[in-house]
Amino acid sequence: MATLYDRYSSLVYAVALRVLGDTGAAEDVLQEVFMQLWRNPAAFDSSRGNLGAWLGVITRNRAIDGLRKRRPETDIADVIVSVEPDMANDAERARAMEKIRGALGGMPGAQRSALEMAYFEGLTHTEIAARTGEPLGTIKTRIRTGLQALRKVFET
C-alpha cells in the first residue's frame, strides 16, 4: 500500500486540490481514496483498465461530491475506466500529461472552459448554461466533444 501511495498520491492529491482548492480538504480526499482501495481492492478491476486512471476518476468524483456537499452517488466498484496510456510509470504519465495539456490548449476557449467547469467545478450543464448564457444543447455537446477530443490525442 505504501508503494501504491508513493506512486499515485501526487496524482490523487493534485486532482483533489485542483477541485477543492483547499489543502486540508484535499488531504482528506487523498486519505479516503486510498482507504477505499485498502478496504476493497477488488473494487478496482485490473482487467478493465489501469489503476492510475481509475484513481484519477474516483478522486475527481469524491472531490466533487465533497465540493457539492452531497453523498457519494456511485459505488466505486461500478466505475470502469477504459483508457489508452498506462499511468503506472512516471515517464509515461509525464508524456501523457504534456499531450493532454496540448489538447486542452488547442481547444476553443469556450469549449475548454465548459469542460473545466463541468470537470473541476462539478457544475451541471444547466448551471454552466446559466452562467455563460448559452443554449443548453450547445453546452452538452461541448462537454462531450471536449472529453472525446482528449482520447483522440492517443489514437494514432
Binding site: 500500500m1 492529491y13 486540490l17 482507504m35 476518476v57 456511485t74 475506466v81 483508457v83 500529461m97
Partner: protein
Amino acid sequence: MSAHEQFADDLALFALGALQGDERLTLEKHLEGCSSCRRELERLRGDMALLALSASGPAPPQRSRERLLKAIAKEPRTQKTLARAQSLWTFLPWLATAAVLLVAAFFWQQSDRLAQQVARLRDQSAQQQAQLEQAREVVSTLTSTDAMRVTLVAAQTLPQPQGKAIYVRNRSSLIFLAGNMPPLPPQKAYELWLIPTKGAPIPAGVFKPDARGSATVIEPPLPAGVEAKTFAITVEPEQGSSTPTMPIVMMGVGE
C-alpha cells in the same frame, strides 16, 4: 453508435455525475441493456482520467502518508475475505445438485403416494409445481450473478494471512497486496511465484512483510504474455530463489 446518438451527450454528463432526475433514470435503464453505450461510458471515464492528469501541483505533505499508514495499521483487512467468498462458488454445483436431489426425493415420495390417492392427483400436481418453483428459485438465487454474497466468520478468529494478486497478462503487469503475513525467520523472505499453465514456476518478486504483516509487490519483471494458472508463495532465502522451496505457504487460482 449512431443508433445511440440521442444518448451521446447524456452519457458524458452521466460520467461527470451531472445528469439528474428522469434523464438519469432513462439513461441508467438504457445502459443495462446496451453494451455499446456501456463501452462508450468506460471510454468517457477514460477521458476523465486523462483530464485528471492535467491537474498538477505540489506533492501531498509527508503527514498524509503517515496518516494513511496509521489508519491502515488500525484496520487490518479481515472483513472482506475475498478468497472465501469465492470459495462459495466452488460449492455452488454441490448446492445445486443437493437441491435437485432433494426435489427428486420429494417427487419419488409424492408419486408413491399418488398411486394410492388417484383422487387427489390434481391437487398433488399443483403442489408439486409449487415445490418445483420454489426449488427453481433456490437454485436461481444460488446462481444469480447479482446476488450479494457474504461470508461470516467467527468474530474471535485470528486475522488470516491474505494476499491478492492482480495480473494483466497482455501487459505482463502484476500487483500483489498482502496482509497479516506471519513474521519470517531471520535471513528469509517470502517469494511470490507465477505458476504458468505450461512450464516451471516463474519468480514474481521477493518481499518481506512490515511490522504489521502488510506487503506489496509492484510490477516485478516478468516474461511477456505468460498465461498464469496459479499464484503461490514460498519462504526462501532473502535474495530469492529461482525455483520454489516447498512447502507452499499460500496459493490461489484466478477468479
